[in-house]
């Protein structure tokens, strides 16, 4: 039943009606956006392109195809506490040392739950295993796999190299899917992304307010989801405008998301555990506000619709989580100062090399700034890797350190 495109067409207005009681309009837009995406992906009226979370999704919107980001689907499955089975099944095909989001996707693919792709495209930056994993998915569905391999460092040569790659990949996608690739379409998409960029900038500025107006746990779930999935879409513009308005009202009213904010911390890493867990309820109860989180940091320069290919290339190349660690250190230092935090929690997702690789050095840099730092090992998708007692002890000790200052 999940695979029927019509389900999402019916579900969309029903959920909109149900969520009317939900005062958080951005959340309603997120739900509606997902329904539209799933309707398109399962309905198969247009070609479906699977991309990984770090691929510039704008290019797929410009092509007129339906983008499907399997990692986000896996996080939704985990959110509904349904990831155990798919992860176990995925573990029969992939190393159990690999990211649980990937294993969950593989299990879901095996179960036949996911919308079938017409093409798979991935990018190797940040997530080192992505190209190999997406290549495996392409083989599983017997479709083509195209990939980007952004260079490690920046500079003019890297830009030329990546720009050519990006154009080549999208021209190939256009040819293989039989969809025209027009610069005007990409410009239009970048125009929307520019709006989104400005709203995100305002959202991030508003979130510097005290008390913290918006929950980091939500920033790590549907806001981060939209930051990955929506750039270039109309709903993206609508979502981030609504989010800006929602937070602005709270800031004007001096309302924090916690009844009493005692401390502010930064959440490091792109993800959080999505399955039911007590991490955020514990932090809330201790008055520890997650003031900001890494995935919503606006690292890319203002999009230029007049130069769309260059603009997307810049977005890929200046990602602080790709390339040398110094770039991430600088971004995290900037976030720590902007949001006036007393500490940072680094969620070290099991199997994630790109984020945990620099976690110790990141901690040292933050401690030099006089901040407290907690390295919190865990798993974003696999509840089997979540130890409530160990996690709570670490969090409580971190809270005690904050309180004793």
């Amino acid at each position: 039943m999940l695979r029927a495109g019509g389900l999402y067409r019916v579900l969309r207005p029903l959920l909109a009606l149900y969520l009317l009681k939900e005062r958080n309009r951005p959340y309603r837009i997120w739900v509606s956006f997902l329904c539209r995406i799933f309707e398109g992906a399962y309905g198969r009226k247009r070609p479906v392109v699977w991309v990984n979370a770090f691929f510039p999704v704008e290019a797929i919107y410009a092509l007129g195809a339906v983008p499907f980001i399997p990692e986000i689907y896996a996080s939704l499955v985990a959110y509904f506490d349904l990831s155990r089975g798919p992860i176990a099944l995925g573990g029969t095909k992939l190393s159990t040392d690999l990211c649980s989001f990937f294993r969950c996707v593989m299990g879901l693919a095996e179960e036949g739950v996911l919308p079938e792709p017409d093409l798979v495209i991935s990018s190797s930056h940040l997530c080192d295993g992505a190209n190999k994993f997406f290549s495996e998915l392409a083989r599983f569905y017997a479709v083509d796999h195209l990939f980007l391999d952004p260079p490690y460092g920046g500079g003019d040569k890297a830009k030329v190299y990546l720009l050519e790659q990006l154009r080549y990949v999208m021209e190939e996608a256009s040819r293989r899917l039989g969809l025209p690739l027009r610069d005007e379409a990409l410009s239009l998409v970048l125009h929307r992304t520019r709006h989104i960029w400005h709203f995100m900038q305002e959202v991030n500025r508003l979130r510097q307010g005290r008390p913290s107006p918006f929950a980091g746990s939500e920033g790590l779930s549907y806001v981060a989801g939209m930051a990955f999935y929506s750039p270039g879409s109309e709903e993206g513009v609508e979502f981030f405008r609504a989010l800006r308005d929602h937070i602005a009202v709270r800031v004007r009213g001096g309302k924090g998301y916690l009844p009493r904010e005692r401390f502010r911390v930064l959440w490091l890493h792109h993800i959080r555990p999505y399955y039911p867990n007590s991490i955020f309820s514990f932090l809330d109860a201790r008055g520890i506000a997650v003031a900001f989180e890494e995935p919503n940091y606006l690292w890319w320069p203002e999009p230029r619709p007049e130069a769309p290919w260059e603009s997307l290339t810049d977005k890929l190349l200046c990602n602080p989580w790709a390339g040398p660690l110094e770039r991430r250190l600088q971004a995290v230092r900037e976030m720590a100062l902007s949001y006036g935090v007393q500490g940072a929690i680094h969620f070290s997702h099991w199997g994630c090399r790109q984020s945990t690789g620099g976690a110790v050095q990141l901690g040292e840099a933050l401690k030099e700034m006089g901040l407290l730092y907690l390295l919190l090992p865990g798993d974003g998708a696999d509840p089997g890797n979540y130890s409530p007692g160990q996690t709570l002890t670490r969090l409580q000790a971190f809270a005690e350190m904050l309180e004793s200052r």
Binding site: K367, L372, N385, Q390, T393, Q396, A397, E400, M401, S404
Partner: protein, 268 residues
Amino acid sequence: MRAFAGVDVGSLCTKVVILRGEEVLSWSLRRTGADPVGAARCCFDEALARAGLQEGELGGVVATGYGRLRIPFASRQVTEITCHARGAHFLFPKTRTVIDIGGQDAKVIALDERGKVLDFVMNDKCAAGTGRFLEVMAQALEMEIEEMASEAATALKAVPISSMCTVFAESEVISLVAEGSRRDEIVWGLHRAIARRILGMAKRLPMKGEVTFTGGVAKNRGMVRALRELLGMPLNIPHEPQIVGALGAALLASSTSPSVRAAERLKI
């Protein structure tokens, strides 16, 4: 002056300390078993009886350890990280690093001159480098834990142990026995393997000042030897290292009780 209690419900043992001012009135220890609340109650009653006190006479009770959230007679819960830091600092005021190896986890804690936690590192979710690891190895070698400790303290050579996974290390030990390796050398190799793991954790913190070794494994002379050798520095070993967490909890109960805080404010 009122007395205060600290209850440390660990995965293997439950400990209670009753404190008045800076004097330990009594303490008690027993296996936690499958009923942590019951073990805590028995231990608590035993310590109260030894101190000649009734529960109502106490000024406060702080619970710590993995079972801290389940103790109905505790007025507050504090992590074992904060409690071990406080207890070790009380016993050895120059302590700036605490190594605590308990039944199911190992921690290295950096503290300041007041005994407050600056930073900490814990082992990950497996039992490698913990008291439980040593217990399993002792069973595999068919010896008592005390006997194992004593052999490790005097062995001349160590057989390298490559696996730190409790299950894999057990089969490695069995293979070494089958190959004819000397038992004392295997035991010493196991202790050095744990010490190396602890050293790896300790190196992530600034190792300044004195180092105090707490937790049940600090009673193990072989482990003390291995840590001293690998750290290259002396270690403070409390007379009863297993009750340091409960002691810290009792100290925290006394320092945070309203009457004591009021007295501090009035400089009584």
